[in-house]
């Protein structure tokens, strides 16, 4: 009976969020991948005859100060933002799993030292730290990715370390040691596979965050070079245009950004909610 309810509960948790999130994300990703190709957008060309046109059938999102179609530009920008976000999420997760896993598995003073380092990193606002890193290697994709990844692995590291600390006290680790397994073998056979679901979850939660971070950096003029469309660049360029009454240059790129982050975090929260009952039943065991 309880099992039955649990199954029903699990199947139904957040289904509308799941559907909406999946559909929105699919549309956005497909748009980001295919629209810039189909539209043959040349970002270096400026069309003086079509500067700041209001949304119309020909230009559904209107055009920007350079006369370029905003629908195409926004999705080209989204493509760059998503690429940066995925790279950041993957790199910070790998770093976090490695550092958090080792820290928890080794324990003792190396662990304490590493955790104080993490505290120190966290005590500085991430955006500030990111700005310092970007400022050192200005204006390329690698610098932006590095600045976000190097400030965000700490969250994953903490989660992984906590999980490893609880795992390594379990009897099956004792059994492995007795069976002659090395520290390294225990780490990669038992501890890392156990934290993979948690780490994957935090990677997905990092995605929308990284999109915003990249946008913020580009908006401040520290991110990608101006000719590369990213949502942040487009928004930064369009600040002046708003004053002339061209609301669409801010509204539509922002909408794309907001829809992306809401879709990803919606999906992530459904995933988390569905993980929770499984973890509960593990505890009951």
């Amino acid at each position: 009976m309880v099992d039955q309810w649990r199954r029903v509960g699990r199947a139904r948790t957040g289904t509308p969020r799941l559907v909406w999130g999946a559909v929105t994300l699919a549309v956005l990703v497909l748009g980001a991948v295919f629209l810039p190709w189909l539209g043959e957008l040349d970002e270096s060309l400026i069309h003086y005859e079509s500067v700041r046109l209001a949304p119309s059938l020909e230009h559904p999102f209107g055009t920007d100060a350079g006369g370029r179609d905003l629908l195409l530009r926004a999705f080209a920008g989204l493509r760059v933002s998503l690429l940066v976000a995925v790279l950041c999420a993957v790199i910070s997760t790998v770093l976090g799993v490695l550092i958090g896993g080792l820290s928890g598995a080794v324990g003792g003073w190396p662990d304490r030292l590493m955790m104080r380092f993490v505290d120190t990193l966290n005590s500085v606002p991430h955006l500030l730290l990111g700005i310092v890193i970007v400022a050192l290697y200005r204006g390329n994709l690698t610098a932006v990715v590095a600045s976000i990844a190097l400030t965000h692995w700490t969250t994953v590291a903490r989660i992984v370390r906590a999980e490893v600390l609880s795992l390594r006290e379990r009897p099956f680790i004792d059994a492995a040691i007795s069976g002659g397994a090395s520290r390294w073998r225990i780490l990669h056979r038992h501890l890392v596979p156990a934290v993979v679901p948690q780490a994957a979850m935090s990677a997905v939660l990092l995605l929308p965050h990284a999109v915003w971070h990249e946008t913020a950096l580009s908006f401040l003029g520290l991110g990608l070079p101006p000719h590369m469309a990213s949502i942040g660049n487009i928004l930064a360029e369009s600040r002046a245009a708003v004053m002339t009454g061209a609301w669409w240059v801010v509204a539509f790129p922002s909408l794309v950004l907001i829809a992306t982050t809401l879709a990803v975090s919606g999906l992530a929260s459904v995933w988390r909610d569905r993980l929770v009952p499984r973890r509960r039943s593990e505890l009951a065991l």
């Binding site: 040691i177 007795s178 002659g180 397994a181």
Partner: protein, 210 residues
């Protein structure tokens, strides 16, 4: 001979669990250890299997004094002493199949990861070997744990309440497997249990803690 002399051990500073314990496990014999729960039997098991470093006293393995414990203990010393814990469910990685559980010590020591006759000796079928822990009973899981402990042909075996969670027929089967090891391979066994009746038929000699 696996022995401990003057063992003092505990987990938290100031709280002694074992105080001045002497124990001797001979090869080819079964030493029973009985006592109420909480008296330190499991701690003694962890010390003798080199999984917990004692605060004082000495563990001697075949005339060699053990200086280091857990990972720091030489692999040959660690693997010379097999161990079976009380709760099979907690002592296996839930992600492994029973086959992976049994061959893990072999793989960890660079031997071919083959179950061989281990499964047959403890009574695990091919079907059971392919399942994961949540798909088998406690008794079936404990059979896998015993097979794992025997995989590296240890000279000593510490059974810490090995049969406490099991029914009578599984208990008899597992004790039978251990007895065969004692008689054919001369394994020295420390059988820890609160079940004196079991120890009276299983062990050659029983130590009682109060």
């Amino acid at each position: 001979m696996l022995s401990g002399t003057g063992l003092v051990a505990g987990y938290r500073r100031g709280v002694t669990v074992l105080s001045n314990v002497d124990i001797k496990v001979d090869r080819g014999a079964v030493l029973g250890l009985a006592g109420p729960s909480g008296c330190g039997k499991s701690t003694l098991a962890k010390v003798l299997t080199l999984l917990h470093e004692p605060w004082a006293g000495e563990v001697t393995l075949d005339d060699v004094v053990v200086r280091r414990f857990r990972h720091a203990a030489p692999r040959a010393q660690r693997t010379a002493i097999g161990v079976v814990f009380q709760q099979p469910r907690l002592s296996v990685d839930p992600r492994f199949t029973l086959r992976e559980i049994v061959v893990e010590p072999l793989a960890a020591n660079g031997f071919p990861a083959e179950v061989g006759d281990l499964a047959e000796r403890v009574g695990l079928t091919e079907d059971l070997l392919g399942r994961r822990p949540h798909e088998v009973s406690d008794g079936q899981l404990q059979r896998a744990c015993l097979a794992r402990a025997l995989a590296l042909k240890p000279r000593y075996l510490v059974c810490d309440e090995m049969t406490a969670m099991l029914d009578a027929s599984t208990t008899a089967a597992l004790v039978g497997v251990v007895q065969e090891e004692v008689h054919t391979a001369g394994v020295g066994v420390l059988a820890i249990s609160h079940d004196e009746e079991l120890l009276s038929v299983w062990a050659d000699d029983v130590q009682r803690w109060v």
